[in-house]
Symmetry: C2
Subunit: 253 residues, 2 copies
């Protein structure tokens, strides 16, 4: 068996999830913690790479012994979160654990993932959301949020999303299926929630920038179809900052 961990983290102080030289990453912190918890060197395989500064509410990662397909442990599964709590820094938390088969792969077996993007919408920024949202000072009124939501509906479905992929990506297969998308207000925050079977590099952040272009009247909701059809990154909006983005949920087959 492998152990699938449910993890939340504040991405502010990390260079993303994926391990790399000369930079601190969430994966590295989890690898070190897993070794202390299980007493053997471990591989910790994530459901996704996230960018520097991106956060997660429910990031999934599978733990196996280094170089092996599974892990043997005497720790009861329900005690694993507490064992991690004792050795993790305060900005990374393992809040759930479950047993999965050796053959399980946390990235390839994803059915869909859900992201949330937080836009803090008051004239002045909030000290409590500085690294946790994009501060957009101009008022997004109810009509505007409704138009953003209308635009977001046009992302839904199976499309070639090349227009919403970071320039310079070397991914060739750019068709993805967006299952649902929604823009709504919650207090002072405007939230964009989107789920898909997969996401291209920076896709949610470019979706968000495009929705802001709709808010500002640079694009109409109807224009979205033409932006998508053009497969041209230059027609979509800006790439919204990483700090507003949260991997919210991962659903497996």
């Amino acid at each position: 068996m492998k152990i699938l961990l449910h993890i939340s983290y504040l991405g502010t102080n990390y260079c993303g999830y994926q391990i790399q030289k000369n930079a601190i990453t969430v994966q590295q912190v989890l690898c070190e913690a897993a070794e202390r918890v299980f007493g053997v060197r471990c591989d910790v395989t994530g459901c996704s790479r996230t960018d520097s500064g991106v956060h997660a509410n429910d990031f999934c990662a599978a733990v196996s012994e280094q170089g092996k397909s599974g892990l043997v442990t005497s720790i009861p599964t329900n005690k694993i979160p507490l064992a991690f709590t004792a050795v993790l820094p305060t900005d990374v938390s393992v809040w759930g654990a479950e047993e999965v088969d050796d053959g399980f792969h946390p990235r390839y077996d994803v059915k869909y993932k859900e992201y949330v993007y937080m836009i803090y919408n008051r004239a002045v920024p909030s000290p409590f959301l500085a690294d946790r949202s994009w501060h957009y000072p101009r008022a997004l009124d109810d009509d505007t949020v409704a138009r953003m939501n209308e635009a977001a509906q046009r992302f839904v479905g199976t499309h070639d999303f090349a227009s919403y992929m970071a320039a310079g990506s070397d991914i060739k297969e750019t068709v993805r299926t967006v299952r649902a998308a929604e823009v709504y207000r919650e207090g002072d925050t405007v939230i964009f929630k989107v789920s898909a079977d997969g996401f291209l590099y920076n896709m949610v952040r470019i979706f968000t920038g495009t929705l802001i272009a709709v808010a500002e009247g640079k694009l109409s909701p109807e224009d979205i179809d033409a932006v998508t059809d053009a497969k041209d990154r230059r027609l979509a909006g800006i790439t919204a900052p990483a700090k507003g983005l949260y991997l919210n949920r991962v659903v497996y087959n």
Copy 2:
């Protein structure tokens, strides 16, 4: 006139509000910002001292020219928050400003203040609330929260609160009037909200520790009256950590 500022701040990186030597405080940051905004040295007088690590949603402070009873400025009052935004660090924010009379005093003219204490109540801590709540891992079920709320009602009224004042305080007049108190759950957080005409040193944090003693069955809600009557700090609960405390609101006469 003076300018009354409405301020929110994340207290994590500050040694409280009140200016002091060799430590960075919110007042110091505001004084420096006010000088840049108004072009003259300023006095910034707060509604309260807050402890190191305590936060504020609506802290009030009045600005006057240094050594004078008022301030002359050509900046329209509704533009003052944006002017402060440009010069403040991200963990302090001025979100409102209003004109008040020269004679106004932000501390002496307080009718009542409201504090909120946040208890994060899941088995493992949240990376998003690490410095912003007290992590209490044992489940506080609905009955327990109801008992805490019942106990909190016994703080309401005019009482001598010496039992809930930090040992070693040199305050002699320890009678205060608590207007309202409430304990309730909001998702994974148990919130204690309390308002009073004034608070003794550490009073809200000791109230919170006492409510946790009730949650743990060390005290019953009915015991609170005896704890209060004893005027003995040793009978109340522990002092809950500063990081869960927020000055929520200040109401003036």
